[in-house]
Subunit: 402 residues, 2 copies
């Protein structure tokens, strides 16, 4: 049976809903948080770990897997599920976000985009058709069309040119797509303009995809603008199809997505923060390397049911981070992913009971969000690291080429 | 009930034997391989992982834990078992090996040894008495006396001076030791001299320890000399006490130890090689980063029952190493530790059946040992890294002090 989505329950006072996606690798209850397995592994965790903490679907990155080890190699080994020994559903992104964040290492035209590999500087080309083929080779359950991720900030005309190309590419991707069991999702763009968001969504809905993603958000804009664009985009999408907001993972953002009727989200935040010692609790994020945890006999989060919190003191985790032990990154990642999955499980339960709005209020009243200044600093640091690596790579490549 | 050791079975044609150590945290069947948890964690693995692969006892390093997080802190949190959430027995070394391998960062006298921390350059002192107290604070099941690890090469007089001090220190440690449930082992030294090895063993046996370790081996000497000293040292030790050869983990060395009646061994080799992509198989070590594994659909070792080999292709593991994914180090460590534990399980079975000698021959006929040249290169590289770090630290410390 091919891909299917059904709404199972709706909240009484908000657009939040519980649904079920049926895929070739099993069912997924929504709303769902998808841990990110960029290189065919959710960093530090095994498939067994992921199943044990209630992961029902993971995301993998087409850009990375295409470059290494190669989608043909993965196809030859039975597809991505078999390659990474993950029996449950997989969603692959289109690689568009990665290619467009490469900045001056890529060259865009109407037909597609040429870019340099971040691994060895070699030249590659993505078109809507090749990206569909690559995802068919990977054999994911949900594939995404190649989109142009509109830069931020952008003028209205730039934004229009960009989302209209995304729509033309979406049509080509739809026409090229052949795998009968694989769902294909369109991606709404439209920058930070209400009307363009609506127009983009309308064009994609006309193409009749299995589901719709909302892209181009959380790219450095103020939180209020992010939430407004999220809401406008979601409101234009059909009720009977899954809605997916890409690259969103902060707890307050998950609540904002779900309250707007979003069903799916993915983020590297859980594992990346984990590797930096930043751990989710009901009161907000804490950094375990802080000296106040040095002698703490209790767990990081007494309410958490993850292996880390059930087994180890905060003092032990503090020690592992101070000693730079690899186990630290694993235990922290496990906690952050489980904590988020459990949060979303609770959201589903509250939607079913029709009390999502009050659950959201309770949670946000207690949860201390990370200051937007800190967030921007973190983002800027990561982007600068990426840019620097890209520059170094290009310099090396140019040197080698000459 | 306090520490106890019993020989359960003896091989028919060699000194190899099966025994059982009883400790406050449970029983340990010998011969036993002890994975090393230097900083209160066997690198990349959880206590659950370790139990699942049949680990019955782990080693932890007194030197490292004394410096960070501190033995008093661990005692305050309920001891080392509780701190690292490991319910089975723990052996702690004395820290002697670490202190003496610091080279010019330490200062030896009759009473003890003063050394610089490798973490922050701060000055510390170990005596036979303080090392006993630290291990009592850690609450390990088996503690070791502080010994002087004789340098290699050394003259006969240097070796004599050294092992005689070790014997005097052993007596002081024995007299200082108070924890009734903790076993205390003496350490045989004597360098590369048959007669001095015998003399050292004799002096320690007179002090009547719960068990005896053989130290000062595998420090750069030729394999033949190592095996000769091992054999001479072991032959002088009483039958009814456990015998432990320290820092030995290569499969061929484990066979050599067991055939000489050794009951216990520990080594960082399994996890360190694992992190470098070097994996044990019945045919010898293979490096998974080798391009011949790029498309290999089968496991690294088809005969292995570990999670890694049961779950993943060699191609996937190859990919994880090439992509420098943290999961690579975990899966490889898990394999190497399980592979070794299973090898020793099989040794026990063959001893019980009285066929250990033929098992050893079969194994060694198939297993391609790593060329001694390669081994020496690896050792030299590690030692050079340690020395460089120590020099840098000392330079920084001196600078900061001024």
């Amino acid at each position: 049976m091919a891909f299917e989505f059904r709404v199972l329950a709706e909240d009484t006072s908000t657009p939040a809903r519980v649904g079920r996606m049926h895929t070739a690798h099993g069912d997924v209850e929504t709303p769902v948080f998808m841990p990110v397995g960029t290189q065919a592994t959710v960093k530090t965790l095994t498939p067994d770990d992921l199943q044990a903490i209630g992961t029902s679907i993971v995301l993998a990155n087409t850009y990375h897997l295409y470059l290494r080890p190669g989608s043909e190699l993965i196809a030859g080994l039975g597809g991505l599920n078999q390659f990474m020994a993950w029996e449950r559903p997989i969603l692959t992104d289109s690689g568009g976000f990665q290619v467009f964040s490469l900045g001056h290492l890529r060259d865009l035209d109407e037909d597609g985009v040429t870019f340099r590999s971040h691994i060895d500087g070699s030249s590659h080309r993505f078109t809507p058709e090749t990206v569909v083929r690559i995802q068919e080779e990977l054999g994911s359950d949900v594939a995404m069309v190649l989109d142009e991720c509109t830069s931020y900030p952008a003028t209205e005309q730039e934004t229009r040119d960009s989302f209209e190309r995304t729509s033309r590419w979406a049509r080509r991707a739809r026409d090229a797509h052949e795998a009968p069991e694989q769902a294909l999702f369109g991606i709404v763009q439209g920058g930070m303009h209400d009307d363009l968001r609506r127009e983009s969504a309308g064009q994609l809905v006309d193409l009749d995809f299995n589901g719709y993603a909302i892209g181009g958000l959380s790219v450095g804009e103020p939180k209020e603008l992010f939430y407004e664009m999220l809401s406008v985009s979601a409101s234009e999408l059909p009720r009977n199809k899954p809605r997916y907001v890409m690259g969103v993972g902060a707890p307050e953002d998950l609540f904002e997505a779900v309250v707007n009727g979003i069903d799916m989200f993915d983020c590297v935040l859980q594992t990346r923060l984990g590797r930096n010692g930043s751990l989710f609790t009901a009161d907000g994020r804490v950094n375990i390397t802080n000296s106040r945890f040095r002698t703490e006999p209790g767990p990081v989060d007494a309410d958490c049911d993850c292996y880390t919190c059930r087994t180890f003191s905060a003092a032990y985790l503090h020690h592992l981070f101070r000693a730079e032990e690899l186990l630290a990154y694993r235990l922290a990642s496990l906690h952050n992913v489980r904590w988020t999955i459990r949060l979303v499980e609770e959201m589903r339960e509250r939607i079913r009971r029709g009390t999502f709005a009050s659950y959201r209020s309770e949670f946000l009243a207690r949860y201390r969000t990370t200051d937007s200044g800190v967030r921007e600093q973190q983002r800027a640091r990561w982007q600068e690291t990426r840019r620097r690596k890209a520059r170094e790579l290009l310099a090396r490549k140019v040197y080698e080429d000459s």
